[in-house]
């Protein structure tokens, strides 16, 4: 694989795209082909499997450049095919298919996310150089100083407000524009904030919140509105605790587009017969919405709320670029990053673990949803 990737990187940029995609799809196609034939009986399939026992270790060798792993793969696949061949007479063999479907994703997750998670969790109980076990010291440090507590509280505020408000706005907008003329255009207007990079978004909101002293010409829209209404200009981002809400507005502005796109698609999936039947029953639009549409898109609502909740828990760029956590606006991800950057790995990891713990209620809720859903089926 190294060799292939090294070779491909010498090509012109745009030529790399089709090549790497072709290689990727070839591997996936091969994988699925074997998944299909693995449990089947018959001489033809046995021969293919035998060939695979030679081919796959060869590919492993090419990919990883290691004889040891190629040998391991040969042993594994040989044993597996033999076992499957034996078992397939009883119509089994799904384990192989399962591995085929799951392993690429699980393998990548293990090296890219699970390993860092375990490492971070260990680091949270170590000192900054990772040389000494310090127990709960890092957590005590977080929860015994004002800024630490404020940081955790702010994160709670974010995760309580952003998902609810974005989903409500996104849902309302999706319903309002549903089936209207110019729906595509309306969608783009609310979707646009999603398409703007965080750098762009931070400039946009810097313009909105900009403040100039009373009597001077305002360059921030919000203060101009305040002045038009006869008020004094306000420094939106310096007065705690309201400044956090003004930062939250930015994330709501971005995430509403996400909620709108997913929910709009879900609404179109609600059977028309049901809506028509409800209409014939003489229900008004609101009743139809509550009794037919909302139950119909329930699982999408859970998905949207969950995804936005996690995005709000992890919010980083907005706080980083707009206040850098000053004026009591800091959130966990920002503190985690600052501590990490300052080589305070232990404290940084402790913040990350607090973040892991805060997501638990969301995980448990989803776990119960999935179980319920499976029971219905």
């Amino acid at each position: 694989m190294s060799a292939f990737l090294a070779w491909i990187s010498t090509l012109p940029a745009l030529a790399q795209i089709p090549l790497v995609l072709a290689a990727f799809f070839a591997v996936i196609a091969l994988l699925i082909f074997f998944l299909e034939i693995a449990p089947r009986s018959g001489r033809k399939f046995t021969i293919i499997r035998a060939a695979a026992c030679v081919l796959i270790p060869g590919l492993v060798f090419l990919a990883l450049g290691s004889v040891l792993w190629a040998a391991a793969a040969a042993t594994l696949f040989g044993a597996l095919f033999f076992y499957l061949d034996y078992r397939s007479r009883q119509g089994a063999g799904y384990l192989f298919q399962l591995v085929g479907f799951l392993s690429p994703a699980i393998f990548l997750l293990a090296i890219g996310l699970i390993y860092p998670t375990i490492q971070t969790t260990i680091q949270a109980f170590m000192n900054s150089r990772g040389t000494r076990f310090v127990g709960l010291e890092n957590f005590i440090w977080i929860f015994t100083q004002d800024t630490g507590i404020r940081t955790v509280l702010n994160t709670f505020v974010w995760v309580l407000i952003v998902p609810a408000v974005s989903t409500i706005f996104g849902l309302a907008y999706a319903v309002f524009i549903d089936k209207s003329r110019g729906e595509k255009f309306f969608k783009v207007l609310v979707f646009m904030p999603m398409a703007i990079s965080f750098v762009g978004a931070s400039i946009i909101w810097r313009f909105v919140y900009a403040v100039r002293p009373a009597g001077q010409e305002q360059i921030g829209l919000l203060n101009q509105v305040v002045v038009w209404l006869g008020g004094e200009p306000v420094s939106w981002l310096s007065n705690s605790p309201w400044n956090t809400f003004f930062l939250i507005v930015v994330l709501i502005w971005i995430q509403t587009g996400f909620a709108m796109v997913i929910l709009s698609a879900a609404i179109k999936g609600v059977p028309a017969e049901q809506l028509e039947a409800a209409e014939l029953d003489g229900t008004n639009a609101w009743q139809r919405f509550v009794n037919v549409t909302v139950p119909g898109i329930r699982s999408s609502l859970v998905v949207v709320l969950t995804t936005i909740s996690i995005a709000s828990l992890k919010v980083f760029d907005i706080v980083r670029t707009m206040t850098a956590g000053a004026n009591e606006t800091s959130v966990i991800a920002n503190e985690m990053y600052s501590q990490w950057q300052g080589f305070e790995v232990g404290r940084s990891a402790a913040f990350a673990v607090v973040l892991f713990l805060m997501v638990l209620p969301i995980v448990i809720y989803n776990a119960r949803q999935i179980k319920k859903q499976r029971e219905i089926r």
Partner: protein, 443 residues
């Protein structure tokens, strides 16, 4: 039921757990003692990573272009605004550049103490001994080991003003801190507006101009020894010497009669981008502004009104006065070049960058200076830079590096900055200082 679920849960969790343990158990740890060991190949390419971007990066590349072709080494320079975070990610991730230009000696020391930086090779050591003062060499030294040579420098703590306005008001450049306060009051009386303007805004680094102010006052009021103790946290931020510096600064920055000319009240300091006062200085709405030597570039920027800078021009500057007349202490900043590789080409580049030859080559291109003693002050491109070189090369000058760049990153590039913002917003000095102290690294 419970045990059933438990058993079902165990299989995947155990699998993931084992996978994780295997991976975490065998991640290659780096280090050892006394440097990272040999790294880098002599492949004709030396990569340099730094914060210097855009036009200044072009000048940097121009400064070594001739040397590159003479020596057959290709220097590839890459800049990032996220340098501070990136360099530690890359060092830890095993993808470090050959050389890095550190604007914070504290960061270099952090990486050096974790054995990521190569000790300075003999040639660099010799250049540092020859061309740099002991103060400067100390900033590149951790423990007893020199880890690199300084590159460029800047002098901080200039107060920018308009000589013509001063003449109109009949005032002189102040010699002492008290005279500066008196001058402020005089200007306030004559103009009826706030004399000072200040801007702390700088995105994620908002608050840093305030730390420069505090450092100037600590150095001038408490002296260099206390300053050094403060930097190394032998005395905390809550020490009376530091409190006193904040109080003195508060006489100007927290006084609504004295700030914030052209921008609003005291709190507007935080929301004003640090470059904006250049415009207020140029058009005369602001009489006094405290900023480092690089500010002449901002003042002369066409966007800000094309004011000229020089002793007889629109805008000129004096060094923030000491408590007593005749003080000679200044704060300043600069970069240190640290090496992650020790192949011969990297060493050659490192030696070249620490030589007077490079310093003159770069300074001639304009815009910057160096503390290199082999530098000819005449090469500097502007009056303020010539003055800065004179100050740096004067043997009587007590030079101290910007304290926030020397402190650990969580403080110097974190809680000290946010502390300044909170302080301007009205948080008490005591609370601000104790918060900064609480954030000092654990060990």
């Amino acid at each position: 039921m419970i045990s059933h679920h438990y058993r079902r849960a165990m299989l995947p969790i155990a699998t993931l757990g084992i996978a994780g343990m295997v991976l975490s158990g065998c991640a290659s740890g780096s280090g050892g003692t006394g440097g990272p060991g040999d790294a880098g190949d002599p492949d004709g390419i030396v990569t340099i990573y730094g914060t210097i971007a855009d036009t200044e990066a072009e000048l940097l590349e121009e400064s070594w272009a001739d040397w590159e072709s003479e020596n057959g080494i290709d220097i590839q320079y890459e800049a990032s605004k996220e340098f501070e975070a990136q360099i530690s990610i890359r060092a830890q991730g095993g993808n470090a550049p050959d050389l890095a230009i550190f604007p914070q000696p504290g960061l270099l020391a952090d990486l050096a103490s974790r054995d990521y930086i190569q000790p300075a090779p003999a040639g660099v050591q010799a250049n540092v001994d020859e061309f740099w003062s002991a103060d400067w060499a100390a900033y590149a030294t951790t423990g007893d080991t020199l880890y690199g040579a300084p590159l460029m420098a800047s002098v901080k703590g200039f107060v920018w003003y308009s000589p013509a306005d001063f003449a109109d008001w009949g005032v002189e450049v102040p010699e002492t801190w008290d005279e500066l306060l008196a001058l402020t009051q005089t200007i306030a009386d004559k103009t009826g507006t706030a004399p000072w303007c200040a801007g702390f805004g700088s995105d994620a680094a908002t608050g840093w101009p305030g730390t420069d102010w505090v450092e100037d006052l600590v150095l001038r009021e408490a002296g260099p020894e206390t300053y050094d103790k403060w930097v190394s946290h032998e005395i905390p931020f809550s020490d009376p010497a530091i409190v006193s510096a904040f109080d003195s600064l508060g006489e100007i920055l927290l006084n609504p009669e004295y700030v914030n000319a052209g921008f609003g009240d005291v709190k507007s300091i935080n929301s004003t981008p640090f470059g904006d006062p250049a415009r207020a200085l140029g058009d005369g709405t602001c009489a006094l502004h405290h900023q480092a030597s690089f500010f002449d570039g901002f003042i002369q920027d066409p966007k800000n009104g094309n004011a000229t800078v020089g002793p007889d021009a629109d805008i000129w500057a004096f060094v923030t006065p000491s408590v007593e007349a005749g003080g000679n202490a200044v704060t300043g900043g600069g970069e240190i070049v640290g090496a992650f590789s020790n192949d011969e080409e990297t060493i050659a580049v490192q030696e070249y960058l620490s030589s007077a030859e490079w310093a003159n080559s770069r300074v001639k291109l304009g815009g910057v200076i160096s503390a290199n003693n082999g530098l000819d002050p005449a090469s500097a491109s502007s009056p303020i830079l010539q003055q800065a070189i004179t100050i740096l090369q004067d043997p009587d000058t007590t030079f101290r590096f910007d304290a926030s760049d020397l402190m650990p990153g969580v403080v110097g590039a974190g809680s000290f900055w946010t502390g300044m913002v909170d302080w301007i917003n009205g948080k008490s000095t005591e609370d601000v200082l104790s918060t900064i102290d609480a954030s000092w690294p654990s060990e």
